[in-house]
C-alpha cells in the first residue's frame, strides 16, 4: 500500500425499513444476495476498497436501521458523510413518500456545510418484481428527484444485481468529489499555516 494517505469516503444509506438497504450494500460489497437478512439494529458498517479513475479510495458504507428515526443519535451516525444514498422500494408507496423526509432529516443532523450541493443518490430497489406489483413508476420517481434538486436516480435489483454497480459508481464519484472539495478547503487552511511557519524559519536563517 502506498504511503500516501488513503482517501476515505463515508457513505450513508437511508430509507424505510425493509426496502433493501442491507441487500444493496451486500450486493455491492460481496456480490451476493440473500433473501433473508436480519433487520439492521442501529447501523452496520462495511468498508470497501476501490479505484476511481486510478485513485485508490476506501468507501466506508453505513447501513442504517430503517425503522429508526434518530434524533440525538443521528449526529453520531451521519456526521462527516460524503454522500447519502436514499433508498425506497418500488412496491411500497410509503417508502417512496418517505424519501424527502429522510433527506431533510439527514441534512438537519449531518450538519453539512453546503446543503444545496451535498451529494445524494436516490435508489428505487426491487425492480425484479412482477410488473403488476410495482407501484412507483420510474417517471414518478424521476419527477421527485428533479424536484429535490436534480438528484441522480437509479432503479436497482439487489436480488438480481441489476444496476447496483452503476449506482454505487456514481455514489463513489460524487462522494469523492465532495471529499475533495472539503480536502481542498482544509489544504488551503494548512497552506496558510505552513506559509507563516516558513516565514519564521527563513528569518532564523
Amino acid at each position: 500500500m502506498s504511503s500516501r494517505k488513503k482517501t476515505i469516503l463515508k457513505v450513508i444509506i437511508l430509507g424505510d425499513s425493509g426496502v433493501g438497504k442491507t441487500s444493496l450494500m451486500q450486493q455491492f460489497i460481496n456480490g451476493k444476495f440473500s433473501n433473508q437478512y436480519k433487520a439492521t439494529i442501529g447501523a452496520d458498517f462495511l468498508p470497501k476498497d476501490l479505484a476511481i479513475d486510478d485513485k485508490q479510495v476506501t468507501m466506508q458504507i453505513w447501513d442504517t436501521a430503517g425503522q429508526e428515526r434518530f434524533q440525538s443519535l443521528g449526529v453520531a451516525f451521519y456526521r462527516g458523510s460524503d454522500c447519502c444514498v436514499l433508498v425506497y422500494d418500488v412496491t411500497n408507496t410509503k417508502s417512496f413518500e418517505s424519501i424527502s423526509s429522510w433527506k431533510d432529516e439527514f441534512l438537519v443532523q449531518a450538519n453539512v456545510k453546503d446543503p444545496d450541493n451535498f451529494p445524494f443518490v436516490v435508489i428505487g430497489n426491487k425492480i425484479d418484481v412482477e410488473e403488476n406489483k410495482r407501484l412507483i413508476s420510474g417517471k414518478k420517481a424521476q419527477a421527485l428527484c428533479a424536484q429535490l434538486g436534480n438528484l441522480p436516480y437509479f432503479e436497482t435489483s439487489a436480488k438480481e444485481a441489476v444496476n447496483v454497480e452503476q449506482a454505487f459508481d456514481v455514489v463513489a464519484r460524487n462522494a469523492l468529489q465532495q471529499e475533495e472539495s472539503l480536502e481542498f478547503a482544509d489544504d488551503y487552511t494548512d497552506a496558510v499555516n505552513i506559509h507563516v511557519d516558513g516565514d519564521n524559519g527563513s528569518c532564523a536563517c
Binding site: 437478512y37 433487520a39 425503522q67
Partner: protein
C-alpha cells in the same frame, strides 16, 4: 430424558427458585445438565414465582423439599393475556388483503369475536407531525412488526421463515406488548421475543397428544398428579401467553434503558465511565484517538442483549444467567436483566485488544460491529442433536427440519480474516459478577480482570489463538477463583449454600502488581495514557 422427567428432577433438586437461580448463576444448573429445562427455569423465575424473587420474600427455611410452583399465578397470567388480546385485537384485517398475514375480522382470532366490533378508526396523522409522531397507529405498528418478524432468525428457517403460525404468534405477542408498553414498536424487540418463543416452543407439550399416546400404549410415561401440573406448565396451548410474559419481563429493563435515545446516551456515558475505570486503553483509543462514540455500537450490543454479537448458542446461557442474576438480586420492580451487561461488554472489548491495538478507525469500527466471535462446529452439532431429541420425545407438531443449523450470518462469516475469539459464557459471567460486586473498586479489580483477558488473547501466537483460547481462559479464570474465592470449590458441591455474589465479594488481591498492564509497553499508549490522566485532572 422426557420433558416431564427433566422438570420433575429439576423441581425436586432445589427447594426454592432462588436456589435454582443461584445454581444457574454458578453454572451448576446449565444446559449440559441432562435435566436442564430453560423454559421451566424462565417460567419459574418470570411467571409463577416472580413475586418471590426478592430475597426477603423467600422463606429462609422453607419446609418444602421441592420448589413450590405457583400454578395459580400461571393460570391468572394466562387469563390476563387472553384478556389483553381481547382488549387489543391484532388488526389483521387492516393489512393488505394480499398479505399472508391478512385475515378478515371475523376469523381473525380464536378469542372473543365481539371485540372486533369496537371499530378502531385509523388515525391519520397531521402531516407536520408525522415524522416525529410519538405513537404509531395500530396499522403502522403491525406493519413494522410483520416486516421484522418476516426476517426473524434466517439461520433457523424452520422456526419462523417457513412457519406462518409461529410468525403470527410472535407478531401477536409483540403487538399486544406494544399496545401496553411502547410508544413506538422498535426493531430488536422482535428478536428477543423470537428467541424466547423458540426456547419455549422447543419444550412445549401437547396434552391431547400425550393422552392419545397413552391410550395407544405407545407412550411409557405415566402421568401422576405432579405430572399433570408439569404438563400444565409446558402446555403448548398457552405458549403465546407464557412467551408474552417472559418476554415482557426479560425486556422490561433493557427497554427502559436502551430503547429510548436519551436513555441510551445516558447508558453509553455510564458505560464509558466504567470503561475509563477498568480499561483505560480502550477508553482512550475509542474516545480520544478514534472518536468512536460508544452509543454507535452499544446500541446493538445493549438492545439485543448481545444476541447479534455472540450468536444464539452463546447468548442463551448468558441470558439464563443474566435473568438468574437479576432474580437473586431483585430489589425493586422490574427484575433487572441488565446488571451484568456493561461488564460483559467490557470483557468482550478486552478480548479484542490485540486487534484494536493495530487498527485504524475503519478496522476498529468493523471489529466492533462484527464482533469476531468464534462459532464452533461442536456447538452446531449439539443444537441439531438437541432438536432430534425433541422429535423423539414429543413427536408432536414441533417438527424441526434437519436443516436447523445455528449458523451465524453468512454475510459475516467470510469477511474477516482476523483471528476469532472463542467465548465461554460461563467464565465471562463469573468475571462480570466479580466486577459488578466490586463496583467501588473497579479501578483495581475491574482492571485486573480486563488485563487478564487482554493478556490471554495476546500471549498466544495468532495461529493457535482460536484453538487454545478456551482452555487458557478456563485455566486463567480458575486461578482467579483460587486466589480470590472463599471456598468456591466447596460450595460447588453443596448448591444449597452457594451464593456466588458473596463468594466473590471482595477479592483481597486488589493490588495485583504482578500483572503489569500490557498496554504500558507501547509508547503510543503511554502517551495516550498521559493525555487522559491530564484530562481527568482538569
Amino acid at each position: 430424558m422426557h420433558t416431564i422427567e427433566r422438570a420433575k428432577k429439576t423441581l425436586s433438586s432445589y427447594r426454592t427458585v432462588r436456589q435454582l437461580s443461584l445454581a444457574n448463576v454458578s453454572d451448576e444448573y446449565n444446559p449440559t445438565v441432562p435435566y436442564f429445562s430453560r423454559s421451566l427455569l424462565w417460567r419459574l423465575q418470570l411467571i409463577t414465582n416472580y413475586e418471590n424473587s426478592a430475597p426477603e420474600l423467600t422463606p429462609a427455611n422453607s419446609p418444602a423439599d421441592r420448589i413450590d410452583v405457583r400454578l395459580d399465578r400461571l393460570q391468572s397470567s394466562r387469563r390476563a393475556y387472553a384478556g389483553l388480546l381481547n382488549d387489543f385485537p391484532v388488526p389483521w384485517d387492516q393489512l393488505d388483503p394480499g398479505s399472508e398475514y391478512y385475515s378478515r375480522a371475523k376469523d381473525a382470532d380464536e378469542f372473543d369475536i365481539g371485540a372486533t366490533s369496537l371499530g378502531r378508526t385509523r388515525v391519520e396523522h397531521d402531516p407536520l407531525s408525522s415524522q416525529r409522531s410519538p405513537r404509531m397507529t395500530d396499522l403502522n405498528a403491525l406493519q413494522a412488526i410483520v416486516t421484522d418478524v418476516e426476517r426473524l432468525f434466517p439461520q433457523m428457517p424452520a422456526y419462523f421463515i417457513r412457519n406462518l403460525a409461529n410468525k403470527r404468534a410472535v407478531v401477536e405477542i409483540l403487538f399486544v406488548w406494544w399496545k401496553l408498553h411502547g410508544d413506538t414498536y422498535q426493531q430488536g424487540l422482535h428478536e428477543i421475543a423470537g428467541l424466547v418463543f423458540v426456547e419455549l416452543y422447543k419444550e412445549a407439550l401437547d396434552p391431547v397428544k400425550l393422552q392419545k399416546k397413552r391410550k395407544d400404549g405407545s407412550e411409557i410415561v405415566e402421568l401422576d398428579v405432579t405430572d399433570t401440573a408439569i404438563l400444565e406448565l409446558y402446555d403448548v396451548n398457552h405458549l403465546k401467553a407464557d412467551v408474552y410474559h417472559i418476554f415482557a419481563r426479560i425486556v422490561a429493563r433493557p427497554y427502559e434503558l436502551y430503547y429510548g435515545e436519551s436513555s441510551l446516551l445516558e447508558e453509553s456515558i455510564k458505560f464509558n465511565l466504567k470503561l475509563h475505570r477498568c480499561d483505560r486503553y480502550h477508553f482512550v483509543l475509542l474516545n480520544n484517538k478514534l472518536k468512536i462514540e460508544p452509543s454507535i455500537w452499544l446500541i446493538r450490543y445493549y438492545r439485543l442483549l448481545l444476541l447479534r454479537e455472540l450468536g444464539v448458542d452463546s447468548s442463551l446461557p448468558l441470558w439464563d444467567k443474566m435473568v438468574s442474576f437479576g432474580y437473586v438480586n431483585k430489589r425493586k420492580e422490574p427484575l433487572d436483566t441488565t446488571l451484568l451487561l456493561p461488564y460483559i461488554v467490557i470483557i468482550l472489548l478486552s478480548l479484542i485488544r490485540p486487534e484494536t491495538m493495530q487498527s485504524d478507525y475503519g478496522e476498529v469500527m468493523y471489529l466492533l460491529l462484527h464482533y469476531p466471535v468464534q462459532t464452533r462446529n461442536e456447538r452446531t452439532n449439539k443444537s441439531v442433536r438437541f432438536s432430534n431429541d425433541i422429535d423423539e420425545d414429543e413427536d408432536d407438531n414441533h417438527h424441526i427440519d434437519d436443516d436447523l443449523v445455528y449458523d451465524e450470518d453468512s454475510a459475516d462469516s467470510d469477511v474477516s480474516g482476523s483471528p476469532r475469539v472463542e467465548i465461554d459464557p460461563n467464565v465471562i459471567i463469573t468475571d462480570a459478577i466479580v466486577m459488578y460486586n466490586s463496583e467501588p473498586e473497579l479501578e483495581t479489580v475491574g482492571k485486573m480482570v480486563v488485563e487478564r483477558y487482554a493478556a490471554i488473547h495476546a500471549r498466544i501466537p495468532p495461529v493457535e489463538r482460536t484453538n487454545s483460547l478456551m482452555s487458557l481462559m478456563r485455566r486463567s479464570s480458575g486461578s482467579f477463583r483460587r486466589r480470590s474465592g472463599s471456598g468456591s470449590e466447596d460450595s460447588r458441591r453443596s448448591p444449597a449454600k452457594l451464593q456466588p455474589e458473596k463468594a466473590y465479594k471482595h477479592p483481597d488481591n486488589a493490588n495485583d502488581n504482578s500483572k503489569k498492564p500490557d498496554f504500558e509497553r507501547t509508547r503510543l499508549e503511554m502517551r495516550l495514557q498521559r493525555k487522559v490522566s491530564k484530562l481527568m485532572n482538569k
